[in-house]
């Protein structure tokens, strides 16, 4: 009986601590809830009066800003397709074919990909892309991301494929299917959730990245949104806050939408190393 007030106290303290920490985490982002809808937004926190969509109208009329979003989409989509296709094929081979030393392959690839980080490899990546004559192209960004994300993607997918009973494909092949048919018609539909996870993970990584396109691209018409956003500064060097706020919100939407999608579909928890 004596314990009841104690438990009550503990609950209160825990709830207060959770509320406090949640608020602290939310604070730097609260500004973003209001500024995009405020035609006179500044760096200060202010409730817009009136709420307006005029900032968005300005962004939509800005061809450079819209082109940058399209560029982000091209680079992310290109990278995602490449990572998804190459990782699925490779993971399937690592799981199902009798290639010698395939365990070591996965191990070594993961090791390399965690050692060769963006900050360590920016010089050689720039040099390789230069040597290939690909500086200032979408393809450069797509290829570099595909290479960098592939080892982790293969690792995640291999886990998914290993968990599928081989008997699925075996019975298809007994029934006369070729190995390719067994892969495309039997295995692929079963692995699909794993592929979706990898695609979302790769998309979010490329869509939000700054350093690689910042180094590899020069011309304005190829800049993705992450780099282009820095041109929303006046000639005096002060940010055009209204434009930046609305643009940041639009640019964040796909990431938020994908998060909600994954959360709804799978529950947002752990899929190996979901962050590069």
């Amino acid at each position: 009986m004596r314990k009841a007030p104690n438990i009550f106290m503990r609950r209160t303290v825990f709830s207060a601590a959770a509320t406090f920490l949640g608020t602290v985490f939310a604070l730097p982002l609260v500004w973003f809830v209001f500024a995009p809808f405020n035609a006179r937004a500044e760096l200060g926190l202010a409730i817009p009066s009136p709420f307006t969509l005029s900032n968005f109208a300005t962004v939509f009329q800005n061809t450079f800003a819209m082109q940058a979003l399209l560029n982000s989409l091209i680079q992310a989509a290109g990278g995602v397709v490449l990572v998804g296709a190459a990782a699925t094929l490779a993971a399937y081979a690592l799981s199902r074919s009798p290639i010698p030393g395939k365990g070591a392959v996965t191990y070594i690839l993961l090791l390399f990909s965690s050692v060769v980080s963006g900050s360590a490899a920016m010089v050689p990546i720039f040099l390789i892309i230069s040597a290939a004559g690909l500086i200032d192209t979408h393809l450069a960004v797509i290829l570099v991301f595909a290479g960098g994300l592939l080892p982790t993607a293969m690792f995640i997918l291999r886990d998914f494929i290993d968990a599928i009973p081989r008997s699925y494909e075996e019975s298809a092949m007994v029934a006369g299917a070729s190995p390719l048919q067994a892969f495309f018609d039997v295995a692929l539909p079963v692995i699909r959730p794993g592929i979706v996870v990898v695609l979302v993970w790769a998309f979010v990584n490329i869509w939000g990245s700054f350093l690689i396109p910042f180094i590899l691209l020069r011309s304005d018409k190829l800049m993705p949104a992450s780099v282009a956003i820095y041109s929303f500064y006046s000639e005096a060097g002060t940010p055009i806050v209204t434009l930046l706020a609305a643009y940041s919100l639009i640019y964040s939407l796909p990431v938020v939408a994908l998060y909600l999608f994954v959360n709804w579909k799978f529950g947002f928890r752990f899929f190996g190393g979901i962050k590069s």
């Binding site: 730097p28 200060g44 900050s119 979010v204 869509w207």
Partner: protein, 302 residues
């Protein structure tokens, strides 16, 4: 019974080819190329851009020159700054805060839990440039939310990015990355059978005792995984650049930003590559420790 393979070795090799080519060209070749470039005086522009000379260990001597090692804007200063940054923002900040957040999430109402988790995860998933700009507004001297709160509490406002730039990036990185540790510990705590805690409740244990004596010993493996991964990521993170550009006067120039400046602002590719090699060696040490521990797990379970 003969176990036939689903994919012949030839077909398997074919399936592996695209991934092998991409990883080979953009991960493995850079690994070796950066080592080669680090022994040259290659630059971005000028004669040495096309025809660099072999300079031996000169770039490394320049990095580890004792006369300038600790000077601001030099390699040693940046290395020490990075170590402090990792210790404070990853090992203490993200890991401890992540543990606290996961522990709190266990014992509050579902509504409060989802509020807490949403706020923490939002900081983690939003694109880095958006986060950078949000913090720029948050820390603004005249109107920023932080100074608004400081004034409201009767405390003196600060020009944080100028006065305390290092602490800003420490708090920034803690805030940005705590979600990973929180989620890892969330799933770790969920793997513990609830009956353990119920038994402790019956015995009248406090929350702290349950965490220290039951939860922590059981999730030791998760803790090690978490510490190594967040250390590696924080060691290589470039995001503080978006907030401070390494300044003012090099006070937030962690190694990733230092490499960027040497290679792409000063155009000294050879020296930049040498820094890259040092970063890779440190990464390699962490990765080997991690893979060794991750490999050991099934053995321990026996």
């Amino acid at each position: 019974m003969k176990k036939f393979s689903l994919l012949s070795t030839r077909a398997g090799a074919l399936f592996l080819a695209p991934a092998t080519a991409l990883v080979g060209v953009f991960v493995i070749i850079p690994f070796f190329w950066v080592i080669i470039v680090s022994f040259t005086n290659r630059t971005l522009l000028g004669r040495t851009a096309v025809d660099p000379d072999f300079v031996g260990l000169q770039n490394y001597f320049a990095l580890f020159n004792p006369a300038t090692f600790f000077t601001r804007g030099q390699f040693g200063f940046s290395l020490i700054l990075t170590i402090q940054f990792v210790l404070l923002s990853a090992l203490i900040g993200q890991a401890l805060l992540g543990l606290l957040l996961a522990w709190l999430s266990q014992s509050v109402t579902p509504t409060l839990k989802s509020f807490l988790q949403t706020a923490v995860i939002a900081a983690w998933i939003l694109p880095e440039v958006v986060i950078g700009f949000a913090w720029f507004a948050f820390l603004d001297y005249d109107n920023g939310t932080l100074n608004m709160i400081m004034r409201g509490l009767g405390l003196p406002p600060g020009d944080w990015l100028l006065q305390q730039p290092f602490w800003v990036i420490v708090f920034f990185n803690t805030w940005r990355g705590a979600a990973f540790s929180m989620m890892l510990f969330n799933s770790a705590f969920q793997s513990i059978p609830p009956s353990y805690f119920q038994a402790a409740d019956v015995a009248g244990a406090t929350s702290w005792q349950k965490l220290r004596d039951i939860a922590l010993p059981l999730i030791r493996g998760h803790v090690v995984t978490d510490l190594i991964l967040i250390t590696m990521w924080t060691f290589n993170v470039f995001t503080p650049f978006l907030l401070t550009h390494g300044g003012p006067s090099y006070r937030t120039e962690i190694l990733s930003i230092y490499t960027y400046r040497i290679a792409f602002k000063d155009f000294e590719f050879g020296k930049g590559a040498a820094v890259g090699v040092v970063i890779m060696l440190i990464n390699l040490a962490f990765a080997l420790v991690y893979l060794r521990l991750a490999h050991k797990k099934p053995v321990e379970a026996e």
